[in-house]
Amino acid sequence: MHQRSHQPSFAGVSGFLRSPLADYADVGPGAVTILGAPHDTTCSSRQGARFGPTGIRAASQYLGDLFRRGDGDLVDLATGQVFHRPGAGMLLDMGDLPVQPTDVVRTTASIREGVAESTARGGFPVTLGGDHYISYPAFLGFSDAFCGSNRDQRIGFIQMDSHFDLGDINLVWGRYWHGSNARRISEVDVVNPANMVWIGVNGVTRGEQYEFAKGMGLTFFTGEDVRQLGIVEVVRRALEIAGNGTEAIYLSLDIDVVDALFAPGTGAVVWGGIRPADLLAAMDLIGAANVRAMDLVEVAPNLDPTEATARLASLAVIHLTAPRLFGARRP
């Protein structure tokens, strides 16, 4: 019989980090579940985020294969962190959730249900966008399953992003677009605005969003704050705020929080963004706290011929989920 042996990194059909493609029945408690949400018709900047899930998976294959060389452990040359090979069943790729490019209502329901299903089975959902709008249905799905009928529970919210996405209504885009996902999340009953934090906002925002942020007592740290205070202190404060009285923290990561020099593969062009090393340090710190779900959005691989943006996104997922996947530790 034909034996399938090893393949080069550019070959083979597999999930994120060479994980198996799985179905909901395979999800067990603590498994990290990758769910693609390739929706991008509510993106008001440049196009391409629909290829985010594919691009991130492709960029992760090389990393996935590194684990099979030697004894499976990897060392981060910059920090000395050690990562082990994911345990069996701990990393599952659920493929992509169905999306309807011209029907945001159906797409919202589809993403919401997929993330809820994975969460209900004990999984840690990692939803890959798509544009940042998908964060809203992903959050809804997570909170549906996590809280169930117990609506007195509270979920803290950290958004790493150059933008607030606190828009209410837009003359061109309406109420549901990648500028309103955080506003819609703030309206969910299990969210207290006092537990919402932004890290990395930069530049200008529409006046009404600034008013909403300040007026509602939301906390934000600008890119400059990160440079002045250091990422460790900023994340420490963010975790305090998001963790205060909450049963879980949800992390939403928009890759454009990283400076355009290092992450050009995204629709918005941002300077004064944070550095890749700071992003990964933030993922380590948040991953060690009570985070129970994340999304990673706005990777548009076509806009970055170097593939570095998609590779950085893969690394962000690895660092955030490391305690669950590998039991990562410093030597």
Partner: protein, 349 residues
């Protein structure tokens, strides 16, 4: 019922810079900012594409204006400072389109650019001009200085943000007029004294003859290493002091290759160290605040060399930062404490 125009996304609509109204030269007057393009690129020895600079910079400005126009309230807020910015009323900014260029007739092109910039300066408008390769700065400067001279200006200072000096005198291939020589030609004009000329950001291999001239002439240079050491704030303050000392104003010429090439690859030259986009934008803000700048050009933007489209956005944002006091009204954003319906229903966590 008549067709109602609505706000448009940034990729739609016919691009003028910042969606400013189109105007003709005879409509220009004092207090107006006149944007114009000079898509000339036949005097560059690096990689091509700067003929698309004017169109590219215009396109790079559209996201910002589209963002403002699509909000229900037409203002934005600078997050770090809490400064509210709304569009200034009236039409302080107009776009007069591109000046004619003649790719195989340099004399004719030079005359066209000189005449256009002169008309703008004579009217009292503030000329903001987009290249094209950096040679355009010579005829544009000539025209601006002639127009300002008609309005009483006797001396002009010059600040060039650029990875190169462009102080070539004569070149075996190009002769005396190309994108490596415009600063030398400008230094020879009677309205300019080299002691009022400043170069910010030049680095890399440079013909010895140019370096020696700079030393002899009394011009001032800050390399990227100098800027990293002294800080952009100090450097720009000093540059403004030097260029405005004893002059009636300053002409600022921005070659986009002053920006670190990794951040801004869309330019013919390959640059390994330079200003960050943030530093450039800060510099533009300081120049605007100084009140001494009488004209600005932006050159060497080559959009085809940058598929990530960062370069046109950096260039446009630099110009918008420079124009900010003219195109925006600014005030502190005062926010009332809001209480949502949810909060009043239940006790805080």
């Amino acid at each position: 019922m008549a067709y109602q125009r609505d706000a448009l996304p940034g990729f739609a609509g016919i691009p003028t810079f910042f969606r400013a109204p189109r105007a003709e030269f005879d409509q220009l007057e004092s207090g107006v900012v006149a944007v114009m393009g000079a898509p000339h690129d036949s005097t560059l020895g690096s990689r091509q594409g700067t003929r698309y600079g004017p169109r590219g910079i215009r396109e790079g400005s559209l996201e910002t204006i589209a963002y403002i126009e699509a909000g229900p309230e037409k203002f934005v807020t600078h997050i770090a400072s809490g400064t509210r910015m709304s569009l200034a009323p009236g039409a302080p900014l107009v776009d007069v389109g591109d000046l004619p260029v003649y790719p195989n007739d340099l004399d004719r092109t030079r005359e066209s650019l000189r005449r256009g910039s002169c008309l703008a300066a004579t009217s009292g408008a503030l000329p903001v001009m987009f290249g094209g390769d950096h040679y355009v700065t010579f005829p544009l400067f000539q025209g601006v200085s002639e127009g300002l001279a008609a309005r009483g200006v006797k001396r002009l200072g010059y600040i060039q943000f650029d990875n190169h000096l462009d102080l070539s005198d004569d070149n075996r291939i190009w002769g005396k007029h190309y994108h490596g020589s415009q600063a030398r030609r400008i230094s020879e004009l009677p309205i300019v004294d080299a002691h009022n000329m400043v170069w910010v950001g030049a680095s890399g291999y440079t013909p010895r003859e140019q370096v020696d001239w700079l030393r002899r002439s009394g011009g001032t240079l800050w390399t990227p290493t100098d800027i990293h050491r002294e800080g952009i704030t100090h450097v720009v303050n000093r540059a403004i002091e030097i260029a405005s000392h004893g002059t009636d104003g300053v002409y600022v010429s921005l070659d986009i290759d002053v920006v670190n090439g990794g951040a801004s690859p869309g330019t013919g030259s390959v640059v390994t160290d330079g200003l960050s986009p943030q530093e450039l934008i800060q510099a533009m803000g300081m120049l605007a605040a100084s009140g001494v700048v009488r004209a600005l050009d932006v050159t060497e933007v080559a959009p085809p060399l940058d598929p990530s489209e960062r370069t046109i956005r950096i260039a446009a944002s630099a110009v918008l930062e420079f124009l900010s006091p003219k195109i925006y009204l600014r005030e502190p954003h005062v926010v009332e404490r809001l209480r949502s319906a949810k909060e009043t229903e239940r006790a805080p966590a």
